[in-house]
Symmetry: C2
Subunit: 224 residues, 2 copies
DNA sequence: CACTGTGAACTTATTCACAGCT
DNA sequence: AGCTGTGAATAAGTTCACAGTG
């Protein structure tokens, strides 16, 4: 199978697979079947095989998938095997600071290379080895460096204009922590992280006076 | 239409609608059509009407939806009109502290009422007006109080056992920041917040040497 | 007349089921 | 024998299109 446009929902599952394969590799595991991998991830084996089939034939019949090899393949498909992915961060309030301090990005091969804010009290200060620059200088910076990923950690009101700046500067993948719907042009990818919305939607299921016919949908992903 | 099990994906969109209606109310807007609401949210009008139709007939033909009324209706469907939703927080590292300090939960009607960790250096200390308790005391606490929501902000290795404790204690909605697939019994709802995974999947779309046939999928939600 | 509410049509995603390889 | 890879079948989700109503 080949040359069809690959569904985004499939793309979003690849990091899940890659990560679990990383754990398996750490356990010294050499091969794994779609069956067992699916069990560990709460995904059906057929789903895994179908997803992988969009990209090629990676398994050995009778044996399963070679753990390290498949992980490398997936990371390569995602474009994660090159050097560290550089990101700009806009907003250094509570949230922005947490983002800067969070080791997970670095560990995952992502690095904040420049930090911006609009608050004169913040501009020029140092946070975690980063000098905070005026967001007004963001366009020039992007023009110069062509960084293609950005993280938005500003208040809701400020988010649309910040996102516009990033898009205009050529940033094509944006992770936004602002709880606001913003639309972006085709070819630009925006993902929102919105814990309050997650809680709000889960609250629905708490309504049931007693449990019983409550719908489940486990670790899934995709929004997640 | 009535009495079919309502799809989770529909439930997840309700907070999005409710929030935008809140903004509209703030702007003094009285009525809004599915058309215009959809435009603001990047959702089709038909989708909005269909989603709402699962719960009743809230619109006035020829006029649209009454902004404040619909918002109330949606919040009530989600169970958000009662008093503040109480949550326990497990883990007070970098991430847990950010969660505690984040005003968005309070503003959204969610409140961390008790904080746990397993690190002896943390236990007993005060963070943001909360005394940090030993996670070993979590089961007893849950038995006593029947808090039904929890936030997990512990390292990946610790997450499964913490989640088990929460589930055993009757917590039915869990927001986890641990980048790990964990399965939970039916009737328990677990949502993961995993920014690194979002970045990893977006990285795929950066591959294209030049843009053009890049798939878009805009603000969607759910996480997403 | 401008909208909603909703079956029907369509599209997308998942699962089944099995031939085929190792 | 035990698995993958994949068309075909099914299920889930979205959009269409229009009758009906305030």
């Amino acid at each position: 199978m080949n040359e069809t446009e690959i569904p985004d929902i499939v793309i979003r599952r690849l990091p899940l697979y890659a990560r679990e394969l990383g754990l398996l590799a750490g356990e010294g595991r050499e091969f794994i079947s779609s069956q067992e991998l699916g069990q560990r991830l709460g995904v059906t084996p057929a789903q895994i095989r179908k997803d992988l089939s969009y990209f090629g034939r990676f398994g050995k019949r009778g044996r399963g998938y070679e753990v390290v090899g498949l992980r490398e393949r997936l990371r390569s498909i995602l474009g994660l095997n090159g050097r560290v992915k550089e990101m700009v961060l806009v907003g250094v309030g509570q949230l922005g600071r947490a983002v800067l301090g969070y080791g997970g990005f670095r560990r995952g091969g992502f690095e904040v290379v420049r930090v911006f804010d609009s608050d004169p009290k913040q501009i020029g200060s140092m946070i975690d080895n980063h000098r905070v620059d005026d967001v007004a200088s963001l366009p020039k910076y992007l023009e110069r460096t062509r960084v293609s990923m950005g993280i938005v950690a500003v208040p809701a009101e400020a988010a649309p204009s910040v996102i516009d700046l990033l898009v205009a500067g050529g940033v094509r993948a944006i992770l936004s922590y602002a709880p606001i719907a913003t639309s972006v042009p085709r070819g630009v990818h925006l993902r929102r992280i919105d814990p309050v919305m997650e809680l709000e939607s889960m609250a629905y299921y708490l309504e049931e006076p007693f449990d019983g016919y409550v719908e489940d949908h486990q670790s899934d992903m995709t929004s997640r």
